[in-house]
Every structure is written in C-alpha cells, then in structure tokens.
C-alpha cells in the first residue's frame, strides 16, 4: 500500500499544527464560531446530537493492520471502545471531545492517517473498489489514481470553498463496486475501444440526497497524463457556476441537470481550451511513482484449487455457507478475497469494537499480508488470503463474532447512523436494520432468498444510499412520528437505477413485515435462478404493490 514520503508526512503534521492553532484561535476569540465551523468540518469534526463526531479518512478504503490497531487505541482512549465504518469507507468515532481532537489527529499522523476534508464543502475523501488490485475482473488497479486524487485534492487552493460537498469515486474493474453513478464525479479506468490503451472515462452529476440523479459520462476518454487537467476543468465550471442560493440545489448534479448535459460538456471543453494543453508529464511521473507502492504482491505459487479448502467445505456446512457469501475471485491462483461481515444479526451495521479491531489486525497479519479494506457496504475485506488458510481464518473470525455468513444477503444491510447519533436525522435507521435482520435471521432462509441489498437512510440526505438499494428505506418524520418510505428496484451497479416508491409511509413496527411481504412475493414469482433484483426488473416494481399494500395501513401500535 501507499506509504508517505517525507513530504506527505510533513504535510499531515503541518495540518495537525494548523488545526491546533485554529482551535486556539477559536478559544481566544480570533475566529468566530461561524468562521471556525468550516475549518472544523474540513478536519472531519461534526457537532452531532449528543457529542462531537470525528470522521477519519480511510483513503480508497485501504488500511494496514498497524493503522487498525491505532484506531483501536483511539477508540479506547478517546471514545467508548468502538468505531463505525461508513458508506464512504471512512471510520467515525461518535464520542470524542473537541479538546482531544488535535491529539487524536497527532496519533493518526503517527500511522500516516488524517481527517482532511472528510466533511465540509470541499472535495471529500476519494473512494474506490474495495477489491482494487486483487480482483480477477480488473482492467487496471485504481489505487494509484485514487492516491493521486487524494494528494491533488488535499487543500486545493481553488476548490476548498465549493458550493457544496464533492465526492469522487474511482473504479478500474469491469464490475462497478464503487457505486460510480452516485458520485459527483467518478473516474472509470477503461480500455480504449480502438487503440487498447487504458485511460479515463469521467462521469459527473450523480448523487443521491433530496434529488437523486444518476451520473452521466462527460468525458468519453481522457488518456493518461490528462486526468487532473480534466478534473480541474470540471471543478472550475462547478465552482464558478454551481448554485449557491439554495443548499439543496448546490450539488453538481443540479447544475448538470439545469443546464443539460450538452451545455455542461461544452463548458468543460471551453475551460480545457482556455487552459491550454491538457497533458501533464508530471502527472504521468507521479502516477508511476505512486504505482510502485501498489506493485503486485509476492504471492506464493499455488494451485488454483485448494484441497484443504474443498475438504473443509464438504465437512462443515456452516463453513461452506460462509464461504459462498464471503469469497471473491482473486487474481492470483490459490488465493481468495474474503469479505468479513460487520453485520451480525441484531448488531448496528458497520460497528466494530476495539477488541475486534485488534483481533482483526492480528488476523490480517497472519492471513492477509497485513492489509485490509473497508467496503462502501460497511464491511471489511481481507484481500490476500490463501485458500488453504480459509478454514482456520473462518474459525478465528468466529471467535470474535466476525463470521456472520451474510455478505450480499438480505441481512447485510447498509444503514446510516440515523437518529441514534445524527443531528440531521428525521428517524432512526439502526433499529430498523436490526429488526429486519432479526426477522430474517435464519441462515438457510437468507441463502434461499439470495442476493438482496437493503439500504436505510435516516433522512433525505441519503447517506445510507436508500435510492439504490434493491429495497430502499427512508426514515422521515410525519406529525411527530417516524414514517418509513419503501422503494423498490434501486440498483447500485453499473446499471444504476433509482428505486420506485411503493406507497405511503409505514411505522417502524410495520416495516419489517412489509419487507417480508415483498420477499415472499419474490419467492413465489421468481423463475429458476432469478435473483430478487432480476425478478423486480422483469415484473416491474408495480407488480409488488399489491403485496406491499397488505401492510401499508398503519396498524394500531
């Protein structure tokens, strides 16, 4: 993985010193609360319902075991012994004190981490495919590009005070695991149809929230060395022309929508033209330097099939069931990518205790070359596991409550923090996720239902990506009561789609039963081998409305 050189190191240290100074200036009154607010936010510090929340950047979802141990230490020393992984591959602590924040940043800097721009109206932490560099379906490893963007976007002098937050995602595989089309800007590494060279396709204008929009291709192909000039052109058009009169219309998606795709592309072209040649040799050189850190690991030469693994599968049904959901094809023979569920039945999605963090760090050292990943689905990944080791790993995970066999299944629910923590929430999300998971707890039933993504947001801001959930749940508040809107048919893949609203809102108590009706309808109508989303697409969301309506009356609570 990437390691800071002396300059990155100095930069992050200077950032900590700057924040210390900013806190001091706030205390002695040089900065007003209004002036301090964006500075605090750009260091990842939010004021939440009960306390401050600190959001730590996990750049493109890559962590080392050493970094995870440092996070465990912070959780113990400055928080309540746990952290929460988010849909943007970051980690949040929910109970830090403002006065401790500079010290926490210092501890993070010790392990080459930071909180830079994890919040605020600026370019946020760049996300990427959690299987980057190891997936068998990869065209090119997206991490060097993501790191290039991390550096370029850090304290960008021109783009630190944008109309609104700005999220960038990068993907280099044929399958989109980074939800590209839900991002303000997305970079997709593709192979040119004629020349075969790899380069960048750029999408813009995606985003969920109040007005969900699917990102559109704005640059068909930017060759290597032309990426940052193109990104700067997009950013410049947005910074100058994005709306600032209404916070709900300030995202780039609204600009693209209001002026139309052709006009938006014309403005990018004009900006590029005015700037002059878009090729930058230094970008090529820097990318090459960064890429050396991500060079292919030294894998052992192994047979593609592992006899110990096959034997363990045959002997242990629970293990086989876990392996069916957790494993993904690795580039190297004899290795597997393992996704570890942070969704134990009845637990808050994405939470991890400090003990689990330390245990997991040890397992990463033992079985995965000391490396792990965070996925946008709020799970963890061990990217380099020998198939021969899978059974031992599974047993060890089980000792720490980390072997739930539900990755990609109905209980692998994405949920934002909601009303339990978030100051903006209109309803709870975590308890809804817990209640649904409990209803479908039976592993055999989950496996029978197959792949199904439920995504829950506690307000219209859609941090839980509910619009692109196969089943989406949005918690609102109606005359003092929580009301949950259910959407069907959303899709977070390259065939991204926004789910369709099924009917009036439900109470928290009614929601799990309504979900069950939808699932039962699917089970009754699926063709052989058809997944939930395939059935929804074939029949249309409308076909499910009857099943849904069966419970859409508010029953007396």
């Amino acid at each position: 993985m990437y390691r800071y050189d002396e300059f990155d190191e100095r930069f992050v240290r200077e950032r900590v010193a700057q924040f210390r100074d900013q806190v001091q200036r706030r205390i002695d009154g040089a900065l007003t609360e209004e002036e301090f607010r964006p500075l605090r936010l750009q260091n990842g510090l939010y004021l939440q319902l009960h306390a401050y929340m600190l959001r730590i950047a996990v750049p493109y979802g890559v962590l080392s075991s050493r970094q995870l141990r440092a996070l465990a230490t912070i959780a113990d020393r400055y928080d309540r012994g746990y952290g929460h992984f988010t849909t943007r591959q970051n980690l949040q602590f929910n109970w830090p004190k403002l006065r401790d924040a500079p010290d926490i940043l210092e501890l993070l800097a010790d392990v080459q981490m930071h909180t830079i721009q994890t919040s605020g109206n600026c370019i946020r932490n760049t996300t990427a495919d959690q299987f980057a560099g190891v997936a068998a379906d990869e065209i090119e490893d997206p991490r060097p590009v993501a790191e290039l963007i991390r550096q370029w976007s850090s304290l960008h002098p021109e783009f630190a005070f944008l109309p609104r937050k700005f999220k960038i995602a990068v993907n280099g595989a044929t399958e989109d695991r980074a939800v590209l089309k839900a991002h303000d800007v997305a970079v997709r590494i593709i192979r040119h149809a004629e020349t075969g060279e790899t380069g960048y396709q750029i999408l813009a204008g995606g985003g969920l929230g109040r007005t969900p929009m699917i990102g559109k291709i704005v640059v068909d192909f930017a060759p290597k060395g032309h990426l940052l000039s193109h990104l700067e052109a997009v950013m410049r058009v947005y910074n100058a022309q994005g709306r600032r009169d209404n916070k709900y219309k300030a995202r780039i998606k609204i600009l693209v929508h209001e002026i139309g795709l052709p006009e938006f592309k014309a403005r990018i072209a004009a900006e590029l033209e005015a700037e002059g040649p878009s090729f930058r040799q230094e970008e090529v050189d820097e990318l090459a330097r960064i890429a050396t850190f991500f060079a292919r690991k030294e894998y052992e030469t192994l047979a593609p099939h592992s006899r110990p693994y096959e034997r363990a599968r045959a002997a242990n049904r629970d293990f086989a069931q876990w392996a069916d959901t957790a494993l993904f094809a690795h580039k190297a023979d004899g290795y597997a990518i393992v996704t570890v569920s942070l969704k134990p039945i009845g637990g808050p999605p994405g939470d991890m205790t400090s003990d689990q963090m330390r245990a997991f760090a040890d397992l990463a050292d033992r079985y995965s070359l000391g490396e792990l990943r965070v996925s946008h689905a709020q799970n963890l990944v061990l990217p380099h596991v020998k198939k021969d080791d899978l059974f031992a790993l599974w047993r060890a995970l089980g000792e720490h409550g980390l072997s739930t066999a539900n990755v990609g299944l109905i209980t692998d629910i994405i949920a934002c923090p909601g009303l339990d923590y978030c100051a903006l929430a209109t309803a709870r999300s975590i308890p809804i996720a817990q209640a649904i998971a409990q209803r479908f707890a039976d592993p055999a039933r989950q496996h029978d239902i197959g792949p199904l993504n439920i995504k829950i947001s506690g307000c219209i801001n859609a941090c839980g990506h509910h619009h692109v959930g196969h089943i989406g749940i949005l918690g609102l508040e109606k005359s003092g009561r929580e009301s949950y809107q259910i959407t069907l048919g959303g899709d977070a893949s390259w065939n991204a789609a926004i789910g369709e609203l099924l009917g009036p809102g439900l109470t928290a108590d009614e929601t799990p039963a309504a979900i069950e009706r939808l699932v039962d309808f699917y089970l009754a109508h699926r063709l052989s081998g058809e997944t939930f989303i395939e059935t929804v697409k074939r029949l249309g969301a409308g076909a499910f409305k009857g099943a849904f309506a069966g419970v859409s009356r508010h029953e007396a609570a």
């Binding site: 050189d5 002396e6 300059f7 990155d8 100095r10 930069f11 200077e14 950032r15 010193a17 700057q18 100074d21 900013q22 200036r25 009154g29 040089a30 900065l31 002036e35 964006p38 500075l39 109206n121 550096q151 370029w152 850090s154 304290l155 960008h156 002098p157 021109e158 783009f159 630190a160 005070f161 944008l162 700067e232 410049r236 910074n239 100058a240 600032r244 005015a274 700037e275 930058r280 230094e282 050189d285 820097e286 330097r289």
Partner: protein, 166 residues
C-alpha cells in the same frame, strides 16, 4: 477597510470613485467604466462581482491597473476561480480580494493569483497581521501544480529523486 498583502498592512492608494471626487487613483465598477468614468490621475481600478464574465473584464486589461473581486462571504469560493481565470487570461496588474476572508484562506488567495486582501472594518483587530502572515507559512509546500507558489511537493520530490529516476 484595511488592506494587506504578503508583507503585512499597506496603505490603499485607490479610492472608490462613487465616494466622491478625488485626485488619486480611483476604483470604478464595470457599469461606471462603460459610462466613461475616468480617474483624475492615471491609475484605474475595476471592482467586479465574483460572477463577472472573464470576457467582459478582459477587454479592460490594458486600461486598468487593479481589479478588485468582491467576496460576499468567506465561504463563497467563486472569487478564487475568477482570479485564476483572470490571471490565465493575462491580467498582469494588481488583483485584490475584497471581503471577510479569514487568515486560513490567505495562502489560497495568493496561490490563485491575488496580491492583496481588503478586509472589512474591525476584522484586523480580531485577527492581527501576525495571524495572516503566520497562515502563509503553515504549510511548507502544497501538492498542486499550476498555481502561484514558490515550490510544490512534486518539485521537491523531483529534486529528491535519485539521478537515474529523473
């Protein structure tokens, strides 16, 4: 109003012409310029909003020595892009940011092409010059290429790289 540049506080030789007749260099708006406003003595400043079109401003480059870009609030970053675009279009005179910027934005402003910042009444009392000057040295070098800064991390890296890698 207080004016400061990278060296600290400085005297403002310009005055807004709308504030009355005055012998020294004056500042006018695009509309006043179109009406033929001219300062009594040589130098001319042009005050624009951060939404101004580069083309409308560009045609006055030869006749103005100062352009003042208005920042309605410190959170409105349009002025940074406008400054960058005016420099790109070839403006070689003095570029001034006028509005309630904060010290933590000073380095950004200079990098985007500004020379000086004009602060509203009372702000420099709260945020003394040392804080503005200090903000300029908070970071030894930035990552981004293509902005007005003495050195960047990429350049430092290149200088550091072994001969063979150059």
């Amino acid at each position: 109003m207080k004016l400061l540049d990278r060296n600290g506080l400085k005297a403002d030789v310009y005055r807004r012409m709308s504030e009355g007749q005055f012998d020294g260099p004056g500042i006018v708006s695009l509309a006043e310029l179109a009406d033929g406003a001219q300062p009594a003595a040589g130098k001319l400043g042009l005050a624009i909003e951060n939404t101004a079109n580069v083309r409308d401003v560009e045609r006055h480059f030869d006749s103005v020595t100062l352009i003042v870009i208005h920042f309605p609030s410190f959170g409105d970053g349009r002025g940074f892009t406008l400054a960058r675009r005016l420099r790109r279009a070839g403006f070689g005179g003095t570029l001034r940011a006028s509005g309630p910027l904060i010290p933590d934005q000073f380095a950004f402003a200079l990098a985007c092409g500004f020379d000086e910042v004009e602060l509203p009444e009372g702000q420099i009392e709260r945020q003394p010059v040392e804080q503005w000057r200090g903000a300029l040295t908070a970071f030894s070098a930035p990552y981004q290429q293509g902005y007005r800064r003495p050195r960047t991390i990429l350049e430092e890296r290149r200088r550091n790289a072994p001969e063979a890698a150059r």
